[in-house]
Symmetry: C2
Subunit: 358 residues, 2 copies
């Protein structure tokens, strides 16, 4: 087992990465301060792994809650069913919420933990590649609003992240690829050596080679932990982790939550950011091709969805969380492996980029 640490002073916590971690109950229970817990999972993951987590909690008063699966259910109504369960089961301020599932379960359960009784304990058990390399680490929690993705949320750190890589055995290939998008992201924004490693090993990841997957997860989490430790609440460089996300969130919202997977939308967005950076003269055509190439090899989309007009793109992007006083900051490439946050583009260049991305 590999153990990394997210350094946030008294809110520091470990990320445990390894095979069959859910069979080691103590790994989970040592992070539960009270005597009770609620395990929140979804219809896909619960039949596979809920038993293991419940076994680990045999000495705790614990309840389970199974939510419908998918981004389209990450909303205030489903959030309210978590509060209902907590109150109906009289779980108090010292209880622990355990998020067992992918990014949707982690985000909504995390936000419930942030807000139930003004904050209870939280443990993340991510079971998808995307949540293991990205969303379970760093304390971003949220639900969607019909007008914008992740618009309602809080920064709230877990007590621990337990990434059992064996759970990836049951992951659909499309979900695996979605996770690889976020892995590629770390290479593109700040880790050229990792990008090169990915260019040599992407097929191993797609074939689920355990060693390659473990390395990709560890290296991604190291990158994420470093960025989060330096800028927990995204007042600066943490925003770099949103490469491709402003375009991507527009796709997710515009196409209807759940139609495109998060990683698919981000992949398409990372290509759009590359095209825009090229238009600004910051990266070359061959850099753009390199971005397209690695994303295509991961079986991820490199084009924008035809159903979405460029007007709709611009409109949805104007609601992004990176808009400040009406100005939209975009994450762009100064070079491959070095992303920047910038407003040094014109509306015309943005529109041109979008229209050339179909």
């Amino acid at each position: 087992m590999i153990s990394l640490k997210v350094n946030l002073g008294e809110r520091s916590y470990p990320i445990c990465i390894g095979e069959n971690l859910l069979d080691q109950g103590e790994l989970l229970t040592q992070h539960i301060p009270g005597n009770s817990a609620l395990i929140v999972s979804d219809e896909t993951v619960a039949p596979l792994y809920m038993d293991k987590v419940e076994n680990a909690l045999s000495n705790f008063r614990h309840k389970t809650l199974v939510l419908p699966d998918g981004e389209e259910h990450k909303n205030l109504n489903v959030l309210n069913t978590i509060y209902d369960s907590l109150l109906e089961n009289k779980l108090d301020r010292n209880t622990t919420l355990i998020a067992l599932g992918g990014g949707v379960i982690g985000d909504i359960t995390g936000f419930a933990a942030a807000t139930y009784q003004r904050g209870v304990h939280l443990i993340q058990i991510p079971t998808t590649l995307l949540s293991q390399v990205d969303s379970s680490v760093g304390g971003k929690t949220a639900v969607n609003h019909p007008l914008g993705k992740n618009m309602i949320g809080a920064f709230y750190q877990p007590k621990a992240v337990i990434a059992d890589t064996s759970t990836l055995d049951t992951l659909e290939q499309r979900q695996l690829c979605s996770g690889i998008a976020e892995v590629i992201k770390y290479g593109l924004i700040r880790d050229t050596a990792f990008l090169e490693w990915l260019e040599s090993n992407i097929d191993k990841l797609l074939d689920r080679d355990p060693e390659a997957l473990a390395y990709a997860i560890e290296r991604s989490c190291r990158n994420k932990a470093e960025v989060v430790a330096a800028d927990e609440r995204e007042s600066g460089q943490r925003a770099l982790l949103n490469l491709g996300h402003t375009f991507g969130h527009a796709i997710e919202t515009g196409m209807g939550y759940g139609a495109w997977l998060h990683g698919e939308a981000v992949a398409s967005g990372m290509v759009m950011a590359a095209r825009l950076s090229n238009k600004l003269g910051w990266i070359t055509e061959s850099d753009v091709d390199r971005v397209i190439n690695i994303i295509e090899r991961a079986n991820l989309p490199v084009k924008a969805p035809e159903q979405m007009s460029s007007d709709k793109f611009v409109d949805l992007m104007s609601l992004d969380k990176k808009v400040s006083d009406g100005v939209l900051n975009l994450v762009l490439y100064k070079s491959l492996g070095k992303a920047v946050i910038s407003k040094d583009y014109t509306d015309a260049i943005l529109r041109e980029t979008i229209s050339e991305s179909y």
Copy 2:
């Protein structure tokens, strides 16, 4: 104008107390970091004071939202209308939410500010005595759940609190008395000299003597600011501010939100806490009478509502936020002017206290 400071490091902020402060626009606008704002008020307060706040914001892009009035509307559905308004008006991460109203508006608007885009700026303009002396200061924000009051919320500090005492001129007498309950609370938990002052001056407060009101607000805010600065997230002594609140919240939830005003329920609860403390031998019969006397003189209830059985009381209290690992901590009196957080009571004594409180 009196200006106090809540000392919370980089999250410190001023409380401004004085007459006609809403006519001094700069007092408000100096605390708005961006170029936009949403003013949230209710149907009672908006017709009286919205114009003044809008005038102050003439140089900012600002929108208004008027919510229905009353505790029964402090819920997730009404909260969602704030998010709707923020998104429909494309108000971004650098916007400021301004809560113009009593405790309900402050709590729900504060929670919206804490969670919209994971946190935007917040200014509290309390217009009731209760919100000026208590709820607008200290960063507790929340909405109610059908099963428990303030069960969904966050700690989130404002940039400033602007308490214009002239707004109390339009306050209903019942609302004024409700606020006096929280004023009395400070005397009972930690400020014997203030309790004595209240015993001499309660009639002046009821008659809205401006000097007496200003003094009571200032002294209450000083007490609140001290406690909050020492324990922002209620890991210890801040819980003392909840004297009477565990009983009181049970009354508010059990009778239906809005039936009893918050201060009325707290008043009744402070008497119940006194009876229980007396049963434990901590305070004398005459101490109990002294609590009853000052509360009765403020035209506040000193008995529990007959419609609520003691079983219902105990059941609702078991859901209180001060329950930890199944044990309910109550705020009790070691002596008058010295409250403590205690679980040194038996279930039998609690039930006896409740049954003798009708």
